[in-house]
């Protein structure tokens, strides 16, 4: 695959307030660098992430979307991430079924203590999306940046 060195992907990360957002804060506190392509949106729980949000991100110009939540069993709301896991598994499977590149979407469990994991995950995900190049299969041409 050709990698465009100048391509800077837009990456949206949905992080649950209690674990992953805190984990992201921790990687900041520990000054662990990860690419600035990643922009975080805070949600109360990963189960708040509606498939509409993910599609919307791709429509409006995102090249990759990652969802982060508490590890299964650790959900602040006891069961939220279990629902997330099913919903997102099915959604990602459907995107794959439609031929959308698998590496554009990801879900990772990141606890509040895993600052290093958060940074490493974002580093890896950004690299994967970069390798894929711009999102073309699930983009809205009207939104393409001129």
């Amino acid at each position: 695959m050709q990698v465009n060195e100048n391509f800077e992907p837009v990456i949206v990360a949905f992080c649950c307030n209690w674990c992953s957002y805190a984990g992201a804060d921790l990687s900041g506190t520990n000054r662990l660098n990860y690419p600035s392509n990643v922009k975080i949106i805070r949600v109360p729980c990963s189960c708040r992430v509606n498939p509409m949000f993910i599609l919307r991100a791709f429509q409006k110009g995102a090249d990759g979307v990652i969802i982060c939540g508490c590890h299964p069993g650790d959900c602040h709301y006891t069961s939220g991430n279990y629902f997330t896991r099913r919903r997102i598994t099915l959604l990602y499977s459907m995107l794959d079924f439609l031929g959308i590149e698998r590496n554009r979407t990801r879900l990772e469990w990141v606890s509040a203590a895993e600052g290093a994991k958060f940074a490493a995950t974002m580093e890896q995900f950004t690299a994967d999306v970069k390798a894929l190049g711009p999102n073309r299969r699930l983009e809205d041409l009207r939104c393409r940046k001129q």
């Binding site: 498939p51 509409m52 599609l55 919307r56 791709f58 429509q59 299964p72 069993g73 069961s79 279990y82 629902f83 896991r85 099913r86 919903r87 997102i88 598994t89 099915l90 959604l91 990602y92 499977s93 459907m94 995107l95 794959d96 079924f97 439609l98 031929g99 959308i100 590149e101 698998r102 590496n103 990801r106 879900l107 299969r137 699930l138 983009e139 809205d140 041409l141 009207r142």
Partner: protein, 323 residues
């Protein structure tokens, strides 16, 4: 069959057990039956029809019908009973207001398949020992019955009625159908091939909403695609993205609720195999979370409304099949 149905419907109307009957009404041609509500013996005698073309699933109409006063008799084919049950489960139908008579299922015929053979000017279609004798303005044509079967019937999942008050004819069994074959075929393609396949199909979409409006799982008071507050409302596929989004979200919203009745693909004026999207979810659910048939009962928890602690991770999507 038709006679037995009319007879029973008239009896139930006469003894006051039901006030209305929902079934199919004959049309202008051999194949254009309209779902209809009958209230008298005369109407039943003159207009009620049940034959190889009465394929429409009438269960969704019962949402509207059971909101009215009185009781309605519904003739349900096996596949329709699944939709009916699912609607009961979601509190959309008042079970007490429906008297269900289970009737045999298909296979039903697809007029479009007959027309696709170049047969036009169709005046009548007769099934003689599984050969269709088609009288047309341009002479008589024949074709095998098997080649004119509706897609949804060709991959029938069940001949069993999952709910009824009485049956006319025999009840059948849940079938070991081949309905996931095409999904599997697509799964085994490369991502690029799948993308090309779906782009070709979904680009045909004219967003007429027939698939949504016929779907027994789509009974929302106000669909997100019609609701400006939802942020994703739209009326036309103004971009290929919107074609994708509509069908992904629709499939997702009925995931775990779709009974695979096949109406979406039957009514699509552009012949988009929309049922494949729903079947993909059904296949995934069966494989990842255990066999589940929406509408088979009214009490089990829908797979997306439940979980187990050792469910697979979404990364399974990245690990299996072909990229």
């Amino acid at each position: 069959m038709q006679e037995a149905m009319i007879k029973r419907a008239k009896e139930l109307l006469a003894d006051g057990s039901v006030d209305r009957v929902i079934g199919w009404k004959r049309g202008e041609f051999a194949y254009d039956m309209t779902p209809a509500v009958f209230t008298s013996a005369e109407e039943l005698d003159s207009e009620f029809i049940f034959d190889d073309f009465t394929s429409a699933n009438v269960s969704k109409y019962l949402v509207k019908e059971t909101a009215k006063e009185g009781k309605i008799l519904a003739f349900l084919k096996p596949c329709d009973t699944y939709s009916f049950n699912q609607l009961i489960k979601e509190h959309r139908i008042d079970r007490d207001k429906v008297y269900v008579i289970g009737i045999p299922g298909g296979p039903k015929l697809d007029i479009e398949k007959i027309k696709a053979k170049g047969i036009t000017g169709i005046l009548s279609v007769k099934n003689e020992d599984y050969t269709l004798k088609i009288e047309t303005l341009y002479g008589e044509e024949t074709m095998p019955f098997s080649e004119a079967i509706l897609d949804k019937c060709a991959s029938c999942k069940s001949k069993k009625h999952v709910v009824y008050d009485e049956l006319i004819g025999e009840d059948g069994d849940v079938l070991d159908s081949n309905r996931f074959d095409m999904v599997e075929k697509l799964e085994n393609m490369t991502a690029q091939e799948r993308f090309d396949f779906w782009r070709d199909q979904l680009s045909k979409c004219i967003r007429c909403n027939a698939c949504r409006n016929v779907c027994p799982a789509c009974t929302c008071e106000n669909c997100v695609f019609d609701n400006p507050k939802s942020g994703i409302d739209n009326k036309a596929p103004a971009d290929s993205f919107e074609e994708n989004m509509f069908h992904i979200i629709r499939a997702f919203h009925v995931a775990g609720r779709c009974t695979d009745c096949g109406e979406c693909s039957r009514v699509c004026p552009q012949h988009i195999p929309l049922h494949l999207l729903n079947r993909k979810f059904i296949k995934d659910i069966n494989e990842l979370y255990g066999e589940y048939q929406a509408g088979a009962d009214t009490t089990s928890r829908a797979p997306l409304n439940t979980y187990t602690k050792d469910d697979c991770e979404p990364s399974i999507v990245h690990e299996r099949g072909v990229e």
